[in-house]
């Protein structure tokens, strides 16, 4: 298994998905060597072998950057490797070299590579070991760049990897059609396996209503809390979300919008909230994890996933689990597994505004949405994801797809 992050060193959903998928596979008897590009302990992982491809800290897995101390580099790496890990391409080269060495002692039955970050290592591993390559697509460069084109180098790597793969897993039909249409990959080479929600990981959790005490007070005054938990990047469509928030506030006064997270668009969003005249209603938390992260779901009444392009969108399932009414864009894959939700096109702010007001103004609508959606996410589990992966490994091995 070739990945880029695992909890607790993850920055987003990729690490969470890799963790639960591996765990479910291991429970079903799979023996997994998981390669990460950094060196760190993973206290909760004893079900597979974790290999560190570099001595870098998890913080440096996207490259060291120009401002990191030279002393730090020299102390970790030999002199001749200096400069090699300054950017992500350098880290990726080291990752490939490590996988190459690892294959001297390990002979895999299948190589499971996650996203463009590890695709080159996956291709190399396939050539060296002869084992089949499964490329698991959690996001493509088309998704990450939102309404822009994206990085041509990344597009090229993704294209090569998808061509070389024996089998491709896409996390949603949206992602599958993107792979087929934008990269010209035959549709029958791509299998859709949706992500799941690990309900157990929320089991030992009690909501602390003092975390967001201000919002709790407003709720008692009849306010509806609309939340999103995400990175503030162009992919997430938050400028459209704020526009809809302003439209909704024209029709219904008692809204508060909780933007939990951080990212390069924060300043722009702050400014927009003032431009739209709703600065007072838009609350920014900064980066949240742990209690502040989970309590953000709990304090919310409505969760919005406003992504311009979202291959899956695990946070919508997490929100549903915390009794949120869920609204997602038609461009979000998670909408394929949930039915008791509202959907809208990311640019259609009037529709989102309408849905927000509808939920806020109707207690029964909110109740129906939150109760019904629970049966829907409960149907999908990581165990069944693992079953489908094992089936796929077996068939690839038997060359059943050829």
């Amino acid at each position: 298994m070739l990945g880029w992050e695992l909890p607790p060193h993850n920055s987003g959903g990729l690490g969470v998905a890799c963790y639960h998928m591996s765990k479910a596979l291991a429970l079903k008897g799979a023996s997994i060597d998981f390669v990460v590009p950094y060196k760190a302990t993973h206290p909760e992982i004893d079900f597979m072998r974790i290999h560190s491809a570099t001595p870098l800290s998890p913080l440096h897995r996207y490259g060291m950057g120009a401002y990191d101390s030279k002393f730090f580099e020299e102390s970790l790496l030999g002199g001749e490797e200096l400069g090699d890990v300054r950017d992500i391409r350098g880290v990726q080269r080291k990752y490939v070299r490590y996988v190459d060495q690892l294959l001297d002692t390990v002979q895999p039955d299948a190589i499971h590579a996650h996203d463009w970050l590890t695709i080159e290592a996956g291709m190399h591993a396939k050539q060296k070991s002869g084992a089949p390559l499964i490329v698991h697509v959690h996001a493509t460069e088309f998704d990450r760049s939102g309404e822009e084109y994206g990085n041509p180098v990344v597009h090229e790597i993704e294209y090569q990897g998808l061509m070389m793969a024996d089998r491709i897993i896409a996390v949603s039909n949206i992602t599958k059609s993107l792979i087929v249409q934008r990269y010209g990959i035959p549709a029958d080479k791509v299998e859709v396996i949706h992500n799941a929600l690990d309900v157990d990981s929320f089991a030992n959790y009690t909501y602390d209503d003092s975390t967001y005490r201000y919002l709790e007070t407003l709720k008692q005054e009849g306010y509806t809390i609309v939340a999103t938990v995400t990175r503030f990047t162009i992919q997430k469509g938050l400028t459209h979300f704020l526009k809809a928030a302003a439209r909704a506030s024209e029709k219904y006064d008692k809204f508060v919008f909780l933007l939990a997270g951080d990212g390069e668009q924060r300043d722009e969003l702050l400014r927009l909230s003032a431009d739209f005249g709703i600065a007072d209603k838009v609350v920014f938390t900064g980066f949240v994890r742990g209690k502040q992260w989970r309590d953000a779901y709990s304090v919310a009444d409505v969760f919005v996933m406003s992504s311009v392009s979202e291959p899956f969108g695990l946070t919508a399932l997490e929100a549903a689990h915390h009794d949120n009414a869920v609204i997602v864009t038609r461009q979000s894959g998670v909408g394929e597994v949930l039915h008791s939700i509202f959907r809208y096109d990311f640019w259609d702010t009037d529709v989102l505004a309408d849905q927000l007001v509808g939920i806020a103004a109707s207690r029964s609508l909110k109740y129906e949405l939150t109760q019904s959606v629970k049966h829907e996410y409960a149907r999908i589990s990581w165990a069944s994801v693992a079953d489908r992966c094992l089936q796929l490994y077996q068939r690839v091995k038997e060359k059943a797809y050829a």
């Binding site: 201000y214 005054e221 003032a274 007072d280």
Partner: protein
């Protein structure tokens, strides 16, 4: 015939800066103005100590020396309530030195809003309460009455002048801005449009800014500025009118212009030179208004301030974040006042200090010219974020006081 005079007016102010106040503090901690990190630029105590050492202590000592040496030397000061409160807590000796200056009888205190606010443009009631509060504080502290008014940032218009006359002031201060004055000189007393008695003093911004802004600029052709040069400029300017109104921040001396620029010795030398001519003197602001008749009417229908090349309020209210911040703050007035909770009302008023919205100004930030911009925050957006969370906390405190009163 009255003597030619310099009207020196210095503005003394420190805001209470808001710490990094997050939504997780909102409704939990109400200590917006207490940054725990003493090294932070938002730590009000640390800033006050620093500026006291660099400016207030040495400059007050110099002013006292000038008053003792030169019987004709006079100065006018406006001292904000937020400054006084901080001195009471952290630098009582600085406050004592101001009292000593006032006791000479040749230092006049100018009236203003206690909280250095822009309340005039949002709530006339609140504005008057802050003027009253400031007058009361000055009376208690210095035992003097104020008779001349200056609004925050010298933000002035005809309506303000009319209000000031109705309130009973004999004089008011404003910027002497060319597009308003045209061919006329700022070196006379004028009458604001729509008033009968009040005298208007206009800042001679060229002579003021030579000291306040340009003094240490090595790229300036007049650098280094000597007292005799400045004296010559003053002579030339006073060919047109009897008074030169030098209005500037007190902190020009020692803080904006550090001691090593020679600002203190320049100041001392100029006063000596100026008064060595028996035709010259100094006036306080009320003396100037008394000594000279108005030379005509000046109208400023739109608000003029002493800031930037635009001389308007855009540094405080130029972008939507600034407008939103103050709109939401002042929207709470009615409910805050009804609580009768002096701590809550005080905090609400401390948030009105104009510096808070100044920190949200983006007109320089966009140019990348962040050095032109005094702020204890990383960006105008951070300033906005923390301020809005504090406004939300004020609202929460009102709500938990028994709800809104509508």
């Amino acid at each position: 015939m009255s003597k030619r005079g310099v009207v020196l007016y210095l503005h003394v102010h420190q805001p209470l800066r808001v710490r990094k106040y997050s939504i997780f503090d909102t409704a939990t901690n109400h200590d917006y103005f207490s940054d725990p990190d003493f090294a932070s630029e938002r730590n009000n105590q640390a800033v006050l100590q620093k500026v006291a050492d660099k400016s207030y202590r040495p400059m007050n000592a110099l002013l006292l020396k000038m008053l003792q040496q030169h019987p004709e030397f006079k100065v006018s000061l406006s001292i904000t309530g937020t400054f006084i409160e901080q001195c009471e807590q952290w630098a009582p000796d600085v406050l004592d030195s101001f009292k000593e200056l006032v006791r000479t009888g040749r230092v006049e205190i100018v009236s203003e809003t206690y909280y250095h606010s822009l309340a005039f443009f949002y709530s006339r009631d609140e504005f008057e309460r802050q003027v009253d509060t400031h007058r009361q504080k000055i009376r208690e502290l210095f035992g003097v009455e104020t008779s001349v008014f200056r609004n925050t940032e010298l933000a002035y218009n005809n309506e303000l002048a009319q209000w000031a006359e109705g309130y009973g002031f004999k004089g008011i201060l404003a910027e002497g801005w060319d597009p308003i004055l045209g061919w006329r000189s700022p070196n006379f007393v004028y009458r604001p449009e729509g008033t009968q008695n009040i005298g208007l003093l206009l800042k001679n911004y060229r002579l003021s800014d030579d000291v306040a802004f340009r003094f240490s600029n090595k790229a300036w052709e007049a650098w280094p500025l000597h007292a005799d040069t400045y004296h010559a400029w003053m002579d030339a300017s006073l060919q047109n009118g009897p008074i030169a109104n030098l209005f500037m921040d007190y902190e020009t001396f020692g803080e904006h212009q550090w001691e090593d620029t020679g600002i203190f010795s320049f100041f001392e030398a100029f006063i000596g030179q100026w008064l060595s001519d028996p035709n010259n003197t100094f006036y306080t602001v009320s003396e100037a208004v008394d000594a000279f008749d108005a030379q005509g009417e000046v109208s400023m229908p739109h608000t003029v301030t002493w800031a930037d090349t635009e001389r308007d309020l855009t540094a405080w209210l130029g972008n939507s974040m600034q407008q939103e911040a103050l709109r939401h703050l002042y929207d709470l007035e009615h409910d805050v006042m009804l609580t009768n909770d002096i701590d809550l009302i005080g905090d609400w008023r401390r948030l009105q200090t104009s510096d808070h919205v100044y920190y949200m100004c983006t007109k320089w930030f966009n140019d990348g010219d962040v050095h032109a911009y005094f702020s204890p925050y990383e960006s105008p957006y951070d300033a906005f974020l923390y301020f809005m969370n504090a406004v939300r906390d004020i609202r929460w405190r009102v709500m938990t006081h028994g709800g809104f009163y509508g």
